[in-house]
């Protein structure tokens, strides 16, 4: 992608032939990953457990290899800089990360302290920290929760605070490793609305690792499929809505709407449904199956 001047735009994340093996393991958690993520993209990485998607997340902000011991081959570049040459602290201003366990990533005694922790460590002036805390909490819909203790929050609220705590360092990319893991459906929905708004209103680059396809298909610009430490497939959400078998091939359950599309396509002549949203599915089905000239049996 080039901008108007013709220069190639810097990618948010760039990996070339990346392999990573944890210190005490014999298998390569990542076994040759090459990918590019553009600034402002919302990319979901889908795969079954132990497909390597968590490890990929850990590589984006330098936790691998700096904090998680292991062997790294290949190159990982974040906004044009090699992660090997930057410390995790330096990368923290470029890449924010949210883990799957709500409790294990909130360690301060109040929401406000949690969100302020990052900028405090970076010696940001106090008035600016105050501004960032308020901004970040408003972004995730937790305005006014400043003095609440993490113990008193629901799972969904905790994860949103975790996002705010990452945002207050003003990163350009947010990486989330199965953030909805421990959440109930309502918490999941709140979380993904926040991500959608971040992407739409702030142009934040978002990388999301997930096991479940429903939200990924609904919100991402692009989807990458991982299996056995490699990226084995990629495409737009609509491609996977059209061909759910591609998701099944990596052990991910396709969305219900794509299953419906698939079954309808096999029964209706010239059926080319690839539903992403309920409204378009309803419309498509009404037009093609229930109108006078519409489909019916194959």
């Amino acid at each position: 992608m080039s901008d108007r001047s013709g220069k190639v735009q810097m990618k948010a994340l760039s990996m070339r032939d990346v392999r990573f093996k944890y210190a005490r393991s014999e298998e390569w958690a990542l076994d040759g990953v090459t990918l590019d993520i553009e600034k402002g993209e919302f990319v979901s990485i889908l795969g079954s457990n132990s497909s390597g998607k968590s490890t990929l997340c850990m590589l984006t902000n330098g936790l691998a290899p700096h904090a998680l011991q292991g062997t790294l081959e290949g190159s990982v570049e974040v906004f044009g800089r090699q992660t090997l040459g930057l410390s995790v602290a330096e990368l923290a201003t470029k890449v924010g990360i949210v883990f799957q366990e709500p409790d294990s990533q909130l360690f301060c005694m109040s929401v406000e302290e949690e969100v302020a922790f990052g900028p405090e460590n970076l010696a940001v002036p106090r008035e600016e920290i105050r501004a960032r805390v308020d901004w970040a909490l408003a972004l995730v819909g937790m305005r006014g929760y400043n003095d609440r203790s993490p113990f008193s929050l629901s799972g969904g609220q905790k994860q949103r605070v975790a996002i705010a705590a990452a945002l207050s360092m003003r990163p350009e990319m947010l990486v989330l490793d199965e953030p909805a893991y421990a959440l109930d459906p309502l918490g999941r929905m709140e979380l993904y609305s926040v991500l959608r708004d971040l992407r739409q209103d702030y142009g934040m680059t978002i990388v999301l690792a997930e096991r479940d396809s429903e939200e990924a298909v609904a919100f991402s610009d692009r989807i990458l499929l991982m299996k056995h430490g490699r990226i084995v497939d990629s495409g737009m959400p609509r491609d996977f809505a059209q061909e759910p078998d591609r998701l099944r091939a990596v052990g991910v359950v396709p969305t219900q709407l794509s299953e419906i599309s698939e079954m309808l396509n096999s029964r209706i002549k010239n059926g080319k449904f690839a539903f992403l949203r309920v409204e378009e599915a309803a419309k498509g089905i009404i037009e093609n199956c229930f109108s006078k000239k519409g489909g019916g049996r194959a």
Binding site: A67, S104, M109, N121, A166
Partner: protein, 262 residues
């Protein structure tokens, strides 16, 4: 579980608004005062001051009664047992065998009980008027290394969480037929392994992710660090500090320099 360590009750009293560093210093000075005064009369005055502090701090009656339920039992024990073990002085009021109950013995017992009350009360006032956040902040401001302050803060933050985890683990094991309140010492110790091992493993796993989270927020990035929450002394905080120091210094001087009976 939280109730045990977090006694803080939200309020807008003068004590709540006082700078936590002054409160910590006051507690230390007043505790020392309680230890050096041994005359019952003066201890009762100090106890009166404690009650005054409880009132100024707008302590909740029910919560205070609950907090002191344990202390009052200790006090009662002291009042009853002390005279039995302190046969000094005259007049002797009761005697059976080697045990002599004397007037001074009873007074000494009362004095010690009041002293216990004063110590418990002054720390209780600190705890219910100061949030854990402010306490840790004050300690760091007073010179505690930030790393230690953070460790303390994280420990306090996770107390209720781990309390809940332990309860959940106990439930899970009881549902497998484990009876934690039966059996001899050895059996009970082995039974508790079923609670201890999962707790430890859960704690270690949490610690692992915590370490990653801390690093991801640039912990340790720079030697200089700013703080969102600042503590600043108001005029009245200085006044309070002076009063407390004086309240300590005068009796101290009276007792040790002027040898007055205190």
């Amino acid at each position: 579980m939280t109730g045990f360590v977090d006694l803080f009750t939200e309020s807008n009293s003068a004590l709540h608004r006082m700078d936590p560093r002054v409160k910590i210093a006051s507690v230390i000075f007043l505790s020392l005062l309680a230890l050096i005064i041994s005359e019952l009369g003066y201890l009762l005055v100090l106890a009166g001051v404690m009650v005054l502090l409880l009132l100024i701090g707008r302590a909740s009656f029910s919560k205070t009664m609950f907090a002191f339920s344990y202390v009052s039992r200790v006090m009662l024990l002291i009042v009853v047992l002390w005279p039995i073990f302190d046969p000094s002085g005259t007049p002797v009021l009761l005697e059976f065998g080697p045990i002599k109950i004397t007037g001074p013995g009873i007074l000494a017992g009362l004095a010690t009980a009041v002293r216990v009350f004063c110590l418990a009360a002054v720390w209780y006032v600190l705890m219910f008027t100061t949030s854990q956040r402010d306490l840790v902040r004050a300690l760091v401001k007073l010179g505690l290394r930030f790393d230690y302050g953070l460790s303390l803060a994280i420990s306090l933050r996770f107390l209720p969480t781990f309390g809940a985890t332990v309860e959940s683990i106990k439930d899970a094991q009881r549902a497998r037929g484990l009876e934690l309140d039966r059996g001899g010492v050895a059996k009970r110790a082995r039974n508790y392994l079923a609670v201890l091992v999962p707790t430890t493993i859960t704690a270690l796993k949490t610690a692992d992710t915590l370490a990653l989270a801390l690093q991801s927020r640039a912990y340790g990035a720079r030697a200089d660090r700013t703080y969102l929450r600042e503590l600043s002394m108001r005029a009245i905080d200085y006044v309070a500090l002076v009063v407390v120091v004086a309240a300590f210094a005068l009796p101290f001087a009276a007792k040790y320099l002027l040898s007055m009976p205190l």
